[in-house]
């Protein structure tokens, strides 16, 4: 498919026209309202950098405490808070948001478009991240921080053994922050699948996009188990529903399974974006192209698949049958293969080209010199007998830092120095960055290499003192000394970035001579990225600036980008994106209030905050309602509609992505039901007190009402949404009736699971009603997408409710 570009226009006039539409107000108002992906992506990265600094300070406190056997610097409760917060901050407030920010900042530029698919969602995610992080920081400052270790094992984290608010801070605060991860994952998927420049086939898109697609899919499937676990544990803590209490049919191992179902993919969620940066930067530093594009894509797909089969290798010491151990051990080793393919493809790329020792290259060499060893110790830990010795010792601490600093921090530093000219429009000052790299590299290996030995000498992780073990003193002292060296290196690195912004010379366009799409943009990058979307494979920067491409300028005063088909990016419609808005910050703030109300135990007030969230959601939809349908000549000769009236809008793709995550949540819930029923000791549950006749009647009412709503969704007539909403209300009434009859959820885990299942169904019915009302609120000719979103949701609700009924029936039949 070849498209002919628009004729050239005056670049400056185009620039002004686009800035008027895509820019933001100055000052605080602009800060609150901006939804632009460059703004938000940058904010994610800056805030993540600040959290990295805070997490780093905590790390220094830990190292100071451990420098000598009888460290009296921190007492045990404070030490526990500090190592818990170090891990939680680095994982949830640094690594994940950093990669989200990098993806948001770069993807539209690399894909030749102007913004992410859901700009307000990006901004909303950032505000959730900010507010959630502030809750955790506030707890740290007031001495109420979580203290159960970053994986919060039950029953140590249950109300009985952690009576304070500390564990609630973790469960609620981290879940709040995870909203931003889910938002980011959804829009990364939709942006990559639908917003690529015309003609950029999936099989030809930049590798970074492949990596981010893999990452986002893993986030959609990987975060829900943790969210479910956190919700269940918080329900247990708040209302005494015994999901993890072994005396009443729960099992603490359920928490470990749910946590590591998230926790292991998490490692690859962090590594893949970094690998994407390597695959992008390395060829440029070697003046060549990447070797083995297809092999790398296959390796990414392999990693995404395999990483969900490994979680049990964090649990080799809990007492698991031999067969299961063998399976998970083999799977854990196998995951080294796709990683090996990538490593050797990168080295092959270096052999193919002429590598130059520029600063990004130094950081990439730091990656190789660190990550390879981390991978090898990872394979060792996959070997079950060795794991029995090394598990929960300093050996594991060393291993995970080799993987995470090697596999994420070094590549991110390479990415920072490589892409910084896009942000600042400047080239850096030479010298400081090299020194910083040297200090970090030496400091890192000095700290963590010997820590393997410390662990093999028997030092467990998480102990504050070791008075009886003089043999651990020297290695610990060495670790501490080098840790300070590493810390100084990171300070210099940050200083280098600041100096660059102040003293750097102006950068020419494409300072690395990379020739990739993101470097065809003017520096620093304007709010709209490009004056016209490229239609040729090698567009010239000047031609794009003059509007020689698709959709030049903003002549209709709207933020417009091309949306295309998934596989071959054939242009399908013009997506009109929302502009500056206060809704994201307002919605996130209300959710923040909801979380705070839960934290202080104001369970009666909290639902009020949820109603306000609902009102925000309603206001959110009005942007789509008010778009005036227009047909646009995206290139001379190609006239396309905008999203009004189309079923396969970006929103419906986004809904599918959301439902994938929802299905993962539901699947995790079914896993929990099955796991407790089979593994937990106190089963079978006591006989249910549900009276058969009224129960069956109410279940029948709910299912018939849900079926009616689904039929209405399919019918799609003018009155269908109202009928669907009314059916939803009937179903909700049925659920309420069932809730009143339910056995006391505090009695046994089965009853608690049933109560949770009812809550899940009620929430979905409620959202379905709102979606039906939104579909009703749209104009007849333009509401197709809203109708489709509603229908997808309604069908999902019907299927999951039916599955839950079957599960309950099965439980009763077996009892």
């Amino acid at each position: 498919m070849t498209l002919s570009p628009h004729p050239p226009q005056r670049a400056l006039a185009l620039h002004r026209e686009l800035e008027r539409v895509w820019g933001r107000p100055r000052g605080v108002r602009g800060f609150l309202m901006s939804v632009n992906h460059s703004d938000i992506g940058l904010r994610f990265m800056v805030l993540a950098g600040i959290y990295f600094g805070i997490g780093g300070i905590l790390a220094m406190l830990i190292r100071t405490q451990l420098a000598t056997p009888r460290g009296a610097f921190l007492d045990s409760p404070l030490y526990n808070q500090i190592f818990t917060m170090h891990g939680s901050i680095m994982m949830f407030l640094f690594a994940i948001p950093m990669l989200e920010g990098l993806a948001m900042y770069l993807l539209p530029k690399m894909l030749g478009t102007r913004d992410m698919a859901f700009p307000r969602l990006s901004a909303f995610g950032w505000w959730c991240y900010l507010f959630g992080g502030l809750i955790l920081l506030g707890a740290l400052a007031t001495g109420l921080a979580p203290d159960g270790g970053w994986f919060m094992y039950a029953p140590l984290s249950s109300r009985e053994h952690s009576p304070g608010v500390n564990a609630d801070v973790w469960l609620l605060g981290i879940t709040f922050v995870e909203i931003s991860a889910l938002c980011a994952a959804i829009e990364i998927v939709v942006t990559i699948l639908r917003l690529r420049a015309p003609g950029m086939r999936l099989t030809r898109m930049p590798l970074f996009a492949w990596y981010m697609l893999g990452t986002a899919v893993m986030m959609l499937a990987g975060f829900p188990p943790l969210i479910l676990g956190s919700v269940l544990l918080e329900l247990e803590r708040a209302f005494d529903w015994p999901f993890f209490d072994v005396a009443r049919g729960g099992d603490s191992l359920l928490w470990q399974h749910l946590f590591w179902l998230f926790g292991h993919p998490e490692v690859y969620i962090i590594f893949l974006p970094a690998a994407g940066a390597i695959s992008t930067i390395l060829p440029v530093m070697c003046r060549t192209t990447i070797l083995g594009y297809e092999a790398i894509v296959a390796a990414i797909l392999g990693l995404v698949f395999l990483s969900f089969g490994l979680w049990v290798h964090h649990m080799f010491t809990v007492g698991i049958p031999q067969m299961a151990l063998a399976f998970f051990s083999a799977a854990s080793m196998l995951v080294a293969v796709p990683t090996g393919v990538q490593i050797f493809a990168w080295i092959g790329t270096m052999w193919k080209g002429r590598p130059q020792l520029s600063l990004p290259m130094l950081h990439l060499l730091g990656f190789f010199g660190t990550f390879v060893m981390g991978g090898l110790t990872g394979v060792m830990l996959a070997v079950v007998p060795f794991n029995w010795q090394a598990h929960d010792t300093a050996f594991v601490t060393a291993h995970l830092h080799y993987v995470l600093i090697g596999g994420f921090v070094f590549p991110m530093m390479a990415a920072a120095v490589y892409w910084l000219p896009l942000i600042s429009g400047r080239v850096r000052v030479r010298g400081l960055g090299e020194t910083a790299f040297g200090l970090i590299f030496l400091g890192f290996h000095g700290t963590f290499f010997i820590m393997h030995l410390t662990g093999l000498l028997g030092m467990p992780r998480r102990i504050p003192t070791y008075a009886d073990h003089p043999e651990w003193m020297l290695p610990n002292l060495i670790s501490t000394a080098f840790a300070f060296m590493m810390a100084i290196g990171f300070v210099l690195f940050a200083l280098d970035l600041l100096l660059h912004g102040v003293f750097g010379r102006r950068s020419p366009r494409d300072p690395w001579d990379a020739g990739t799409l993101e470097w065809t943009l003017p520096l620093p990058v304007p709010s709209y990225n490009i004056a016209a979307q490229p239609v040729a494979t090698q567009p010239s920067a000047v031609a794009l600036a003059r509007g020689e491409g698709a959709l030049p300028g903003a002549p209709r005063g709207r933020r417009e980008v091309l949306a295309g088909s998934t596989l071959d990016a054939r242009p399908q419609h013009v997506a009109v994106l929302p502009g500056n808005s206060l809704l994201p910050v307002a919605t996130a703030a209300v959710i923040g209030i909801f979380v705070l109300l839960l934290l202080i135990g104001a369970y009666r007030l909290a639902p009020l905050a949820l109603l306000v969230v609902l009102a925000c959601g309603w206001a959110w939809h009005r942007f789509g309602r008010d778009i005036r349908p227009t047909r646009v000549a995206v290139t001379p000769g190609l006239i396309l509609p905008d999203q009004t009236g189309l079923r396969d809008s970006l929103t419906s793709t986004g809904t599918v992505a959301l439902l994938v995550a929802d299905a993962a949540l539901f699947g995790s819930f079914l896993f929990a039901v099955g796991f407790l029923g089979v593994i937990a000791p106190e089963w079978p549950a006591p006989a249910s007190g549900l009276a058969p006749a009224p129960t069956l009647t109410l279940i029948g009412l709910v299912m018939v009402a849900l079926l009616a709503a689904s039929v209405a969704g399919r019918h799609g007539g003018r009155t269908a949404p109202l009928a669907g909403a009314l059916a939803g209300l009937a179903a909700l009434a049925g659920v309420a009736g069932l809730a009143l009859m339910l056995d006391d959820p505090t009695r046994h885990a089965r009853d608690a699971l049933r109560a949770a299942a009812l809550g899940f169904v009620a929430l979905h019915i409620g959202v379905g009603i709102v979606l039906a009302l939104i579909a009703r609120d749209r104009q007849p000719g333009t509401g197709a997408a809203a109708g489709r979103v509603w229908r997808l949701w309604q069908d999902f609700t019907l299927v999951t409710a039916a599955a839950l009924v079957l599960v309950a029936a099965g439980q009763e039949a077996l009892a």
Binding site: F386, W388, G458
Partner: protein
Amino acid sequence: MVPGSLAGCTGPLSTLTPHGPEATAIATLWWVMLAGSALITALVLLLLALAFRARRPALPPAFWTQGLGLYFSLGVLTLLMGVTILTGDRLSGRYQPAEVTVEAIARQWQWRFRQPGPDGTPVETTGRLHIPAGVPVEVLIRTEDVIHSFWVPQLAGKLDAIPGHENRLRLIAPEAGLYQGRSAEFSGAGYVDMGFEVLAYPPDDPPAPFTDRRTDPVEAPRP
């Protein structure tokens, strides 16, 4: 296990100075894996260094992605699998019953042990487990509150104490002496104090009476 006796690898909790058959097998496995990993790391670093040389042979992409990436990785892992299975064979007693059965009961922050006493009747002690040397012993591991982990590094790998579940670990202390153990699972404020010791006595000469670690320190040779 020879390299383990080098200076710097010793200590009462060191996995590198093993005594029981399980700990010894695992230590051997470690040294084998260390050697293999060192070789692989050296290979990767060498390939990286050679990339900076002016003259180097042009190798086809398949050499990197398939030759090294796929077949080399799979080959190494197959070897490792073999070594693991051999080691696993030597550990297969881990889940089988033994001649003497003892109980290890953990709680915040103390270990209690129930073991056959000098006269054969069960005796309960805190902080010190008494077992006959040279005899396979089965340890039933339980907890009364949160998760803990039973670990005597010089004898065997660790096994967790999980609420509501009982785990079984088999140990052999080859010679009489005092072995150090501790919990390896974080358990809250007193976690650092979750240490204990295993006193292996000659089967025909049990100490009488069995005593607690806190109240009655014993001077036994460290094996």
